[in-house]
Symmetry: C2
Subunit: 203 residues, 2 copies
Amino acid sequence: MDYPSKVLAKAVEEISGLPGIGKKTALRLALHLLKQPNSRATGLGTSIISLVNEIQYCRECHNFSDYEICEICSNEKRSDELICIVEDVRDVIAIENTGKYRGKYLILGGKISPMDGVGPHQLNIPSIEKKLQQGLAKEFIFALSATMEGDTTAYYIYKKFKNSGIQFSSIARGISVGDELEYADEISLGRSIINRLPYNEKD
Amino acid sequence: MDYPSKVLAKAVEEISGLPGIGKKTALRLALHLLKQPNSRATGLGTSIISLVNEIQYCRECHNFSDYEICEICSNEKRSDELICIVEDVRDVIAIENTGKYRGKYLILGGKISPMDGVGPHQLNIPSIEKKLQQGLAKEFIFALSATMEGDTTAYYIYKKFKNSGIQFSSIARGISVGDELEYADEISLGRSIINRLPYNEKD
């Protein structure tokens, strides 16, 4: 595709490098920005540049942070006894949005996936050892994807640390709220029968 | 949604201001940029900022350009007798990609659409008068959307300038290459019968 201007071509090329955005969408976005006041695009451009230059990773949990220790890890109201092990920051945001968890997190930075060339050494597993050495944690909760890769990762970590005296748990799997049994997959339905819970009228 | 970092929150907010991009996609894009080398995001941010600050509009056709007169308008090999009237720069790119047009363009900057509050005064219609005064153009070709708004715009321009001695034409409407008649809409099929062409074995 030939663009009438080199700066437009450059912007389209850069925008279309983002995942899920092709040349046509990139052009549409660039034209949209050109129709807005200049401050809009300047704000967008500046915020993208400061994102990568200013963001830090929390030393404790590997979450993104504006400081050396993130707001969750430095929050004294949150329990140090529970550590929720997740794949990435989106999972932290999702769990925080439920408002049901008052412990801390540990972000692995991915899951073991030989197909994608990700082994245990690419993950933040040494931080689990660090948590164990600190001696405050009592329970590690696996909140990983319900996929083969997620299960493999949980099993790897469990096997490595099962003799350290710490308790391991996994978030409940089962039928989601609003699901009809008829359409639920067999594995989820099977697991939800095996892991049935005492009936509680308050749920 | 609560983000673990203010720079991340700011970037997500700015990215999700783009059309068709919600908060979740914006977060996914921001996390993608954080996984790339910093130069990637810096390049993207810089190109967006220079896009709006450096781009110019061609004085003649209102196309985007790096100069006062765009490469198409200043190309002496292209005919000044044909002026193709289009809505925006994407149409110019689409027509240029066909390689079938050697005239010049005039970008209206939209189409008459009372529903969206766009009237003739928001469009580059004075530039049509300027082209008429220059006296080089012999034919105006309407290449507008095949919609009510596109037709209204063409009709408005035609009515305003029909006594100026210039010839008006419209790009052909009909059945697209690869279309099956069975699934073609009635209006297109009807028009393609009325505007049938002499059979040409070279087509």
